[in-house]
Amino acid sequence: MQIIESSKVKEKLYIEKLENGLTVMFIPKKGIQKKYVIWGTNYGSNDSKFIVPGEQKETEVPKGVAHFLEHKMFEQENGTNSLDTLTSLGVDANAYTTNDHTAYLFECTENFYPALDELMDYVQHPYFTDENVEKEKGIIGQEIMMYDDYPEWKVYLNTLEAMYHEHPVKLDITGTIETISNIDKNILYKCYNTFYNPSNMVMVICGDFEPEKILEEIKKRLIDKKSNGEIKRIYPNEPDTIVKGKVEQNMDVSQPLFTIGIKDKNTDEKEIVKKHIAIEIILDALLGKSSKLYKELYDKGMIFSVPSLDYEFSKGYAHILITGQSTEPEKIYEEFKKAVSDMKQNGINLDTINRIKKSIYGAYVKEYNDPADIARMFLADSFKGINSFDYLEEIVVVNEEYIEQVFKDVFNENKMVLSVIKKA
C-alpha cells in the first residue's frame, strides 16, 4: 500500500488500487472507538448521458436515476432490506447522492465485520423488480415534495438555473415526479452495470485498524468482477455566459432568502486546490465575519448572520455561492458588487490575507477530528481528482499574486446572478 503522510495534522493515508480497479483508502485513527466506512461510485445526478464501455451509441436516461438507484440498492432478493439488517447490527447506516457521486456508508463501534459483510454484499448485488421500483416512486415522490417546501433548496436550484444553460448540475438531484415516473428496472440495471464497476468506485475506511489486515478483509468480500474500462460521460456544451441575472420566486418566508451565484470556468485538476483556497480567502476577505462589508450590512440591519460562502465544482462546472437572509437582497447584491470593484482597485490587504490564511488553516485541521468527516472528505475529494492533504500544503504556499489573479479572473459582474425567495 502506498503511504502518504501529513506532518501538519499528523495523519497517514494508505492507498491501494486493486486489480479489479477498486481504489481503497484507509486512514488509521488510534484509540478511537468509532469506525467508519464509505463506499462510493463516481456516479451522480449529472451523469444521465454516457456511453457504456464496449458500446458505440450514447445512452440517455431520465433525470434522477442515480438517486433512485441509491434508494433501491438496499432491497434484497430474499425480501430483506439491508438498511434494516445493518441497523439490526447496531450500526448507523446511510447513503446519499450528490451531483457527482453516490455513497453507501456505516458508522459503528461494534460488529464492524458483520456490517462490512452486509455493506459489500448489498452494493454488489442489486435486486430490482417492476413491483419494488413502482413502490419506491411513492417514497421518492414524498421526498421531492418535502424539498419543494424548503426555501433553502429552492433558492439554490434557482441560482443554478440562472447560471447554467445546459449543464445538468442545474437540475434537482432527485429528478422530478415526472422524470422518475419513466424509470423502470431495465434502466436501473443498465446504470448499475455501467457505474457500479469496481474501477469506477472508491472505498474509504477510517478507524483503529491495521492497514494490511483491513485491506485483506475487503479483498475477500469482493465478488469476481473485471474492470470494465472507461465510461465516456457526455455533458452538453455549456457556454461561459449566464442565463439571466436575476431570478425570484415567492414562498412563505418571514425574511427573504438570497443567493448570489458567480459562474466560473472548469479548472484543471492540478490547480483546483490552490484555486479553491484562493477563492475561500477572497470570499472571507469580502464578506466574512471580520470583513468591512459584513459589519456595514449588519449595522444597517440588512443582514443578521454571516452568509454561507461556498465554492462548488466538479466535472464541467464550477461556481461560487453566497447564501443568506436579508431584508433587502437587492441592496446586498449592489453593495457586494461595489465591494468587489473597490477591492479590485485597491488590492487585497496583505495582513487580511495572512490572518484569513491562518483561520482557514485551523479550519482544515479541525476536519481531522471525526472519522466520519475524514472519510467523507477523502471520498468526495478523490472523485474530483484531489488528495485532501493537499489543502494543508497549498494553503501555506498560496500567495498574494495568485490570489489577486484568481480574483480578477473569477469575480466578474457579467458572471453574477442573484436569486431571491420572498413572500408574495
Binding site: 447496531g90 421526498e143 417546501d149 479550519a363
Partner: protein
C-alpha cells in the same frame, strides 16, 4: 478519557474532560436558570448582546479578527431550553498547540481568557449595555421570532409543545416574545444581567489534551475571581406527575405542499429507572430505520419520507413526527395509533429488542469520540437527578427487558395531535 469535577465556588463548577482524541480544545460555559416568562426574552437578548463585543474587544469585527489570528478559533453562543431550564451557552474551540505551525503553548490559556471576557466583562457605556447593540439585537430577535414558521417541520414541533405546555415553563419559546422585547431598555437589561450572573448556575467544561494546570488558569482568572458564591435555582429533571388529559387535536393551515404531523405523548413513569426503559421504548417505536413508525408508515404504506419519534427524557415525553401527503392524514393517524397499540401488546420480538439495544449502546459508546457530544453529555448529567458514567449508562440499557418496555408502553397517553396542512379550498 478522564473526567474531573472541581467546585470553583459555590454554584460554579469546573469540569475537565481529558482526552487525546482531538486536534482541538473545546471550552464551554453554561449559565443555567429556571425558565420564566418574565425572563426568557431578556436572556435571549443578553446572549445576543454579549457576542457583539466586550470591554477589551468592543466590536464583533474585532472579536472575529482576534479569532482568525488564533488559527480560526471559533466562538459560538446561543440559548437552549433543557427541561424547565433556560441555558445560555458559550463555546470557544481552538486548535491544540500540537497542531499549530508556530507553537507558543498559550493557545488554551488565551482561549479561556477570551471566552470569559466575552461573558463576564461586557462592554458598558454610562452604566448600561451599549445602546446601539441592544437596539440592533432587539431587531434581530424580533426577526428570529417572526421566522419561527420558516422551517415547517420544526415549527410544527414547537407548536405542538406550546399547545401541550400552555402557561407552563416548558411551553415558553426560548427566544422569547416580541411584545416583551419592546419594553426592555439597555439599562434594565444590564441590571438584570448583573443579577443573572450573580445567581445563575455556572458550569465551565473544558475538553481536550489538557492537564491540571487548567484548574489554576480558571481559578486565577480575574473574571472568575470577581464572581461570588451562589445558591443556584436551576431545576433538575425529575419524574413529573402528569395529569391524565383528554387527547386534543389541533389543525392549522399554512402555505405548504407537505403536511406535518406531530403527536405529543405523555409517559407516566413510576421511577427514574424507567427513564432508561423509555429510551428503548422510543427507539423501537420511532427512533431508527428499524422502528415501527419508519417501517409501517414509510416503507410499507409509502405514506411518508420522514416518520419517527424522539424522546425528551427531561420531560418524560415522546413526540412522533411525520411528513405526509395531506390527503393521507387520517390514514397516517390510524397507522400510527396502531403502532402505539402494538407496543402496548409487546408486538416486537426479543431479537428486535436486542438489535435496538445494540444501536443505542453503539451511540453511547461513541459519545467520547465526539468532543461536543461529550461536553453535552456531562452537562446533561449535571442537570439530572441521577448521575451515571458512560459505562453505567450502557449497563442500564443492556438490562432493559421486554416486560419492562410493555409496562412503560402502557403508561403512554396521547396528549396532543398537531397537524400542519395547506389551506383548504373555500367553496
Amino acid at each position: 478519557m478522564q473526567y474531573i469535577e472541581k467546585q470553583i465556588k459555590k454554584g460554579i463548577k469546573l469540569h475537565l474532560i481529558k482526552t487525546e482524541k482531538f486536534k482541538t480544545n473545546l471550552i464551554a460555559v453554561f449559565l443555567t436558570l429556571p425558565m420564566a416568562r418574565k425572563e426568557v426574552t431578556k436572556n435571549a437578548l443578553i446572549s445576543a448582546v454579549l457576542r457583539r463585543g466586550c470591554k477589551n474587544i468592543p466590536t464583533s469585527t474585532q472579536i472575529s479578527q482576534e479569532l482568525e489570528e488564533m488559527y480560526g478559533a471559533s466562538f459560538d453562543n446561543g440559548i437552549d431550553k433543557i427541561g424547565d431550564n433556560h441555558v445560555l451557552k458559550f463555546y470557544l474551540e481552538s486548535i491544540n498547540d500540537n497542531y499549530l505551525p508556530e507553537k507558543n503553548g498559550k493557545m488554551l490559556e488565551i482561549s479561556i481568557e477570551k471566552l470569559l471576557e466575552i461573558i463576564f466583562e461586557p462592554l458598558i457605556e454610562d452604566g448600561k449595555f451599549k445602546e446601539e447593540y441592544v437596539q440592533q439585537e432587539k431587531e434581530n430577535i424580533k426577526r428570529i421570532i417572526a421566522g419561527k414558521a420558516d422551517n415547517k417541520a420544526s415549527y410544527a414541533y414547537d407548536r405542538c409543545i406550546e399547545e401541550m405546555y400552555k402557561n407552563k415553563p416548558y411551553g415558553l419559546y426560548k427566544y422569547g416574545y416580541t411584545e416583551d422585547l419592546e419594553k426592555i431598555t439597555a439599562k434594565e437589561l444590564y441590571d438584570y444581567y448583573l443579577q443573572l450572573i450573580s445567581k445563575c448556575k455556572i458550569d465551565i467544561i473544558i475538553s481536550g489534551n489538557i492537564n491540571d494546570e487548567v484548574i489554576k488558569i480558571v481559578q486565577e482568572n480575574e473574571n472568575i475571581k470577581k464572581l461570588e458564591d451562589r445558591e443556584p435555582q436551576f431545576i433538575k429533571s425529575s419524574l413529573e406527575d402528569k395529569a391524565e388529559v383528554k387527547e386534543k387535536e389541533i389543525i392549522e393551515e399554512m402555505d405548504v405542499t407537505q403536511g406535518k404531523i406531530v403527536i405529543g405523548m405523555d409517559l407516566h413513569l413510576k421511577n427514574k429507572e424507567q427513564k432508561y426503559i423509555a429510551l428503548v421504548y422510543n427507539a423501537i417505536l420511532g427512533g431508527s430505520a428499524n422502528s415501527k413508525l419508519f417501517q409501517e408508515v414509510r416503507e410499507k404504506a409509502s405514506l411518508a419520507y420522514t416518520a419517527g419519534s424522539i424522546y425528551i427524557r427531561y420531560k418524560s415525553n415522546v413526540f412522533i413526527k411525520c411528513g405526509i401527503e395531506i390527503k393521507n392524514y387520517s390514514q397516517a393517524i390510524d397507522i400510527i395509533k396502531k403502532q402505539l397499540e402494538d407496543m402496548k401488546k409487546g408486538d416486537f420480538s426479543e431479537e428486535e429488542l436486542q438489535n435496538i439495544k445494540k444501536g443505542i449502546i453503539s451511540t453511547i459508546k461513541s459519545i467520547d469520540d465526539e468532543q461536543d457530544t461529550e461536553v453535552t453529555y456531562f452537562f446533561g448529567q449535571e442537570l439530572s437527578i441521577q448521575k451515571i458514567t458512560i459505562d453505567e449508562y450502557i449497563k442500564k440499557i443492556e438490562n432493559v427487558t421486554k416486560e419492562q418496555i410493555i409496562e412503560v408502553a402502557n403508561t403512554v397517553t396521547i396528549n396532543t395531535i398537531y397537524f400542519l396542512r395547506n389551506f383548504r379550498k373555500e367553496d
